[in-house]
Amino acid sequence: MEIYDIIFYLFAAITLLSAFFVVTSRNIVHAAFYLLFTFFGVTGIYVLLGADFVAIVQLIVYVGGILILLIFGVMITNKITQVDIKTGTVHTLPAAIGVGLFTGIVGAVILNTEWRIVDSPMPVATLSTLGEMLLTEYVLIFELLGILLLVALIGAASMARK
């Protein structure tokens, strides 16, 4: 058991547990907070995988942006004065059975597959490489994503204004 492994299990546990609470918690605000932890766990996993920049972005965008947005959504769509901001669930049993089976099978597939793993050294400081790629080879996609974001923002704003 190396320290790397321990850290992995730790983060995996954080991620999965909080994710479980996200989907099971009846209180929507709680769920949102659990989601924060999930994102945090995922960030850790990224770090473990040597993706430092992705991890940072995850933190900033998800935690700083998306989550806030979601909470705002919760706030707006539930009257704050309403004490009970819990939400109901539907057909939990068939979903649990289906998802459970699905998890099992996919897991089995993953375990039974012989992954061709290429041992490569842990990358250090991916930032400059990523930046170069973004502005050379993937510049078109980069630009398109920029436009997409812009469009999404304008669209969202105009839809919400109505």
Partner: protein, 698 residues
């Protein structure tokens, strides 16, 4: 004056009338005096043609001048080689003489028409048409090749059509024009075939080149028969245009046109074109072809003469007389009396034109009365017209001291000689018979018109001598009917310049074995002057001609006098009543009076036949061919209807069945459609699970 200038003269002469035609036609509506231009043009043409004739018979005697340009170049044609079609003019003795005749008469007719047509609503157009006609006629006369001859041949037909139908408001006039054109076309078909045969063999249309080839022994279609048939084909054109039997029916009808037109076209020039054509190709006619030509000519001389005996329309009598005289010429050509035929063509042109114009003068005076039974006694009212008419009638009857005697006697002598040489005696027989009949009906005409008592007082009272403009041409033409213009010896044309200098014996190109015996060259050939080389009239013929000359002269005068006497006996002195005679010979009289029923016969057979056939074809087209088309459409429709039923009930039934099955299944499955995303996702997940189990990739 040199040759090129002369040929340029000819070109100018040819195109002057065309200019007149175009200008007069286009300006006719705007400028009412434009007809003066047309007359002026004709006068210039006449002067030029006189100059041309004089130059030709003096300086350029014996030479024929031609000039040509390439009209169509077919390039290097496979197998044959170069084919080029030339058009051009040929100026030799006959064309120079003929162009003068054409222009002289044309000018006189123009002049005459100024008064005669006065007051007509299409006055200027009339002169334009005359110009077109003169142009076409000049083209026929001056051309140096067969194609151009054919082109102008047809153009003459059209201008004749336009002029005959000039008063097109009258149905009879437009009918006559149409008839003339179509009957002419029948002859032209033959002409066309002859043309095609010659071109096929020699790849050229030029007279000179064709004649050269033939005299070198290259015959059309490589056979002697080919040469004969070619000659006959081309002669067909002449049959149409010169109104020869059996295509003579159009000419009397053509008298529906204005009378000066009849004088110009249907007496002096256009109908002479047929004779002119035969004159042109005389050199390549075989003995067989000539015999046929002579036979046609003889029939054409005889039949119309018999018809003319009983006609009462002044113009019709003249028309039949024209056909008869043209038949004379054709017959003369057929028996080899080439020079006499052409001579008669000229003399006839003058005196027949004079008679037609004279009849025009009479008709004009009588306010368009044409029936001689309503005339009589006009001698006193119209002395000049009477005198000129009489001179012409004497000329046509063949009384000495006139031009008609010279030419007609020559023809009769020719047929006589032919009879003695070949044994075909019916030619001279018909010749002399027709001579007598001609004299008879001509004087019948004169007596009924000018002598005796007026039978229609009222019209008679109004009659008067015509104006100078109308009389002048009559005088000119009648003066030309005297012998003195042609020969110093009134009894012997051979003594004159016309015969010895102006008209030459033809050059023969037909192979010797295809000619008549008397036309073959023999050792005792006549010694001819240097210019007249290769002239192929043998000693035998000349001898025969001289031998019969005396008796021919005697006989022809006797016949003419007999005919005239008979006319006087019957109509002037009334010793024999014409009516009683007609009554006695009723069938013959009716036969003659009804023109041998040619019109009826042709109408029944050809016109009605064609129209009937065309109706049949139209019916066939509409009912049978279109019926098949429509029928197949109907069959297809019926078939498609049954298919449609099958489709509606069987195929569509199956389709509807599947549809209802699907609808049923759909009804069941629609239960699964909750509209909630979550339900769908659960289903997807379950299906995925099932699929994963099924494929068991783990």
């Amino acid at each position: 004056m040199n040759e090129s200038l002369l040929i340029n003269f000819a070109v100018v002469i040819l195109f002057l009338p065309l200019l007149g035609f175009i200008v007069t036609l286009l300006l006719g509506k705007k400028v009412s005096k434009i007809f003066i231009f047309e007359n002026l043009v004709m006068l210039i043409g006449l002067i030029l043609s006189i100059v041309l004739l004089i130059a030709k018979v003096t300086t350029f005697n014996n030479v024929s001048i031609s000039s040509e340009f390439m009209w169509i170049d077919m390039g290097d044609v496979p197998v044959i080689g170069q084919i080029q079609i030339f058009l051009g003019l040929l100026l030799d003795d006959i064309s120079a003489l003929m162009i003068f005749v054409v222009f002289l008469i044309s000018f006189l007719v123009h002049f005459f028409s100024i008064d005669y047509m006065k007051g007509d609503i299409r006055y200027n157009r009339y002169f334009a048409y005359l110009g077109l006609f003169t142009f076409s006629m000049a083209g026929i006369v001056l051309t140096h090749n067969l194609l151009m001859m054919y082109i102008f041949w047809e153009l003459v037909g059209v201008s004749s059509y336009l002029l005959i139908g000039f008063w097109f408001e009258k149905k009879s006039a437009s009918d006559a024009g149409k008839k003339a054109f179509i009957v002419n076309r029948i002859g032209d078909l033959g002409f066309l075939l002859g043309l095609l045969t010659l071109f096929l063999t020699y790849n050229t249309f030029s007279f000179v080149e064709i004649f050269t080839e033939i005299s070198q022994g290259n015959l059309p279609l490589n056979s002697e028969f080919g040469l004969t048939i070619t000659g006959i084909f081309i002669f067909c054109g002449a049959v149409g245009k010169s109104a020869q039997f059996p295509l003579h029916v159009w000419l009397p009808d053509a008298m529906e046109g204005p009378t000066p037109v009849s004088a110009l076209i249907h007496a002096a020039t256009m109908v002479a074109a047929g004779v002119y054509l035969v004159v042109r190709i005389f050199g390549i006619l075989t003995a067989d072809a000539m015999l046929i030509i002579a036979t046609i000519g003889a029939l054409s001389a005889l039949i119309p003469a018999t018809i003319a005996l009983t006609q009462n329309d002044i113009k019709r009598v003249l028309a039949y007389s024209t056909v008869s005289q043209l038949g004379y010429m054709i017959m003369a050509l057929g028996v080899g009396a080439y020079k006499f035929a052409f001579f008669h063509l000229i003399t006839h042109a003058f005196f027949k034109a004079c008679m037609f114009l004279g009849s025009g003068s009479v008709i004009h005076a009588m306010h368009h009365e044409q029936d001689i039974q309503n005339m009589g006694g006009l001698r006193k009212k119209m002395p000049i017209t009477y005198a000129t008419f009489l001179i012409s009638a004497i000329a046509i009857s063949g009384i000495p001291l006139t031009s008609g005697f010279l030419s007609k006697d020559g023809i009769l002598a020719g047929t006589y000689a032919f009879g003695t040489l070949t044994g075909h005696w019916y030619f001279p027989f018909i010749g002399f018979l027709v001579a007598m009949m001609t004299a008879f009906y001509m004087f019948r005409l004169i007596i009924l018109t000018f002598h005796g008592e007026p039978r229609n007082k009222e019209k008679y009272e109004h009659a008067h001598e015509s104006s100078f403009i109308m009389v002048m041409p009559l005088v000119v033409l009648s003066i030309l009917s005297f012998f003195i213009w042609y020969t110093p010896n009134p009894m012997d044309p051979e003594a004159g310049w016309m015969y010895s200098d102006w008209i030459k014996n033809p050059e023969l190109h037909t192979p010797e074995n295809l000619r008549f015996g008397f036309m073959q060259s023999d050792v005792t050939s006549v010694i001819t002057p240097p210019g007249e080389h290769r002239i192929m009239y043998s000693e035998t013929y000349t001898a025969a001609l001289h031998h019969v000359h005396g008796s021919a002269v005697f006989l022809s005068i006797a016949m003419a006098v007999l005919g005239i006497l008979l006319a006087f006996v019957m109509y002037q002195w009334k010793k024999i009543s014409a009516d009683i005679l007609a009554d006695k010979l009723k069938p013959l009289y009716k036969f003659s009076y009804n023109k041998w029923y040619f019109d009826e016969l042709y109408h029944k057979i050809f016109v009605a036949g064609t129209i009937g056939l065309s109706r049949l074809i139209a019916w066939f087209d509409l009912k049978v061919i279109d019926g098949i088309v429509d029928g197949s459409a109907a069959v297809t429709k019926a078939f498609s209807k049954s298919i449609g039923w099958f489709d509606d009930n069987v195929i569509d039934g199956l389709v509807n069945l599947t549809a209802s099955v699907s609808a049923f299944i759909g009804l069941i499955f629609s239960k699964f459609q909750t509209g909630k995303v979550q339900t769908y996702i659960i289903m997807v997940i379950f299906s995925l699970v099932i699929l994963l189990f099924l494929f068991k990739s783990f």
